[in-house]
């Protein structure tokens, strides 16, 4: 049965009095994969941050509903505990706080009980193996000294442990080499199938879409969606750039 997971209605968002997202609308149902593409600076990452509740941005009108409940008045951590996960474009490093300690606290908070060490380590070891990460990384400070690709794998590791239902992937492919891209893509798809999750992918390039097959591809320009299609739209953008949306597609199937 189709259930609405994320509903964004007439959303307008400002940062320092500048409108970044304008009357934005998007519906994501369960078990759907949506992609938002667009040139730099059109508000794609802002959209992800606003869904997660980043306090730097101000929602001036509209609403965001998660599982039919408005989340605008919820704190960042409440949204996360409800099941929204945001894999960041540039995951930051936090010195002194180890990955394992942080994840154990996060999981205990989400489940509202103290997670047993044995079960936690077992889960973590499996996730580390699945992602072909170095085991030592989980005992290091969060993202400290990690390469761009390792940071992205670490985001997916967190996703696998925290088991969200709505996953937002902001340029998850940047910094990943070909082999790592495949590993990350396959892990996301396996998770998607096993947990009946919904995914919103924000990307510039369709290369991750080789592994994660989207149901819908949206093109965002100037703070709103101007076109929606399927994977063909993403592949056309890769070939022709965004200009064809102004000029009309050279590929007649998109007319």
């Amino acid at each position: 049965m189709t259930k609405k997971v994320l509903t964004i209605k007439d959303l307008t968002v400002t940062l320092n009095n500048n409108e970044i997202i304008k009357n934005f609308n998007l519906d994501i149902n369960n078990k759907e994969i949506h992609v938002v593409m667009g040139p730099n600076g059109v508000g794609k990452s802002t959209l992800a941050k606003v869904i997660m509740g980043n306090p730097d941005y101000k929602v001036t009108s509209g609403d965001i509903k998660y599982q039919q409940e408005s989340i605008l008045n919820m704190s960042v951590d409440e949204r996360a505990r409800k099941g929204i996960f945001y894999a960041m474009q540039s995951p930051i490093e936090i010195e002194g706080v180890t990955n394992s300690e942080f994840l154990k606290v996060a999981l205990s908070t989400k489940l509202n009980k103290n997670v047993g060490l044995y079960d936690f380590v077992k889960q973590l070891d499996q996730a580390v193996k699945d992602l072909k990460m170095d085991e030592k990384m989980i005992h290091r400070s969060i993202n400290k000294g990690f390469s761009g690709g390792e940071r992205k794998k670490n985001e997916i590791l967190q996703m696998k442990i925290l088991k969200p239902t709505m996953i937002i992937l902001d340029e998850i492919d940047s910094g990943l080499d070909i082999d790592s891209l495949k590993i990350v893509g396959q892990n996301i798809m396996t998770y998607f199938k096993n947990h009946h999750a919904s995914i919103l992918i924000i990307t510039h390039y369709p290369r991750i879409l080789k592994y994660i097959k989207p149901d819908f591809v949206h093109v965002m320009v100037d703070g709103k969606i101007i076109k929606t299609g399927d994977l063909t739209l993403a592949l056309t953008i890769e070939k022709q750039g965004y200009d064809f949306l102004k000029e009309g597609p050279k590929d007649s199937r998109l007319l």
Partner: protein, 275 residues
């Protein structure tokens, strides 16, 4: 082997065998100490790694630690309680190195800590982690009196709501102390009404010296908080995680001592962590 030694009012408590000598003033008659001073003498060629517990809550304490030549010393000191008022001096002689990892959660502190690097290639690495919601005042000074001496002073402090934390840091290089290296790094993170003061000073009177200093007072980065909260961790738990990382991250200590510090940090009430 790790020793645990407790010293109360100039005396060692318990029947521990100590790897150093206490209050034998004849070991350094030239220092003209009075019997009010707790004197710890570390013989030449020692290799010592121990936990120290100085209990001097009730009266002002003077402590002098002399590290004789060719020795390697590592101390961990954990302090809690109501009040610390003291003057501690460490003298390090030729080719010796002292490493001190110190956690101080005493409520109020007025301390002078001095390091005198008196011998060729003498070294000190000092790591202070401290947390307070009261007044704490540390004067920390290192004097390089010989060639090729090295000092590294790293102080991390948390000033919780109601706290006033001061680090007065001084690195001094005397004349004719060449090829010396100094590094000072002081950071204070403040919460709500907490205050922090750092006075970083370098007084260098010779050439051929490499000196660095950094002083930071501020709050934890909102982007870092957002990251932790985006994984479902509420604000006060996220801040506690950051505090633990900030304080423990500078220290090289065993798991038992880390656990002891974590438990102590957890004793502060949630309100203390309000931004």
């Amino acid at each position: 082997m790790m020793n645990k030694i407790k010293i109360v009012d100039n005396q060692i408590v318990g029947s521990h065998q100590t790897p150093f000598i206490i209050n034998d003033y004849d070991k350094a008659p030239y220092l003209n100490m009075t019997k009010q001073t707790l004197f710890i003498y570390i013989p030449a060629n020692s290799n010592i790694n121990c936990d120290l517990d100085f209990d001097y809550q009730t009266k002002k304490q003077n402590i002098l630690v002399l590290v004789d030549q060719n020795s390697a010393v590592s101390f961990f000191e954990y302090k809690t309680g109501l009040k610390t008022t003291g003057h501690i001096e460490y003298m390090v002689l030729n080719n010796s190195k002292i490493v001190i990892n110190r956690y101080c959660a005493t409520q109020t502190v007025t301390e002078k800590i001095m390091f005198s690097l008196n011998g060729y290639q003498a070294q000190v690495d000092y790591y202070l982690a401290t947390i307070t919601n009261h007044d704490k005042h540390y004067d920390i000074k290192v004097t390089h009196r010989a060639n090729a001496t090295k000092s590294n002073l790293t102080c991390h402090g948390i000033s919780l709501s109601g706290g006033q934390l001061t680090f007065n840091m001084e690195g001094k290089v005397n004349k004719n102390s060449q090829q010396t290296k100094l590094n000072q790094q002081s950071k204070i993170m403040v919460f709500n009404q907490g205050e922090g003061i750092i006075n970083p000073n370098l007084l260098i009177t010779d050439n051929l010296v490499e000196a660095k200093h950094a002083a930071v007072i501020g709050k934890f980065d909102q982007a870092v908080l957002f990251y932790l909260q985006s994984r479902g961790i509420n604000q006060s738990t996220a801040l506690k995680l950051l505090v633990k990382g900030f304080l423990l991250g500078i220290m090289d200590i065993g798991i038992d001592n880390k656990y002891k510090i974590i438990q102590q940090i957890d004793t502060y009430r949630e309100e203390c962590y309000e931004c």
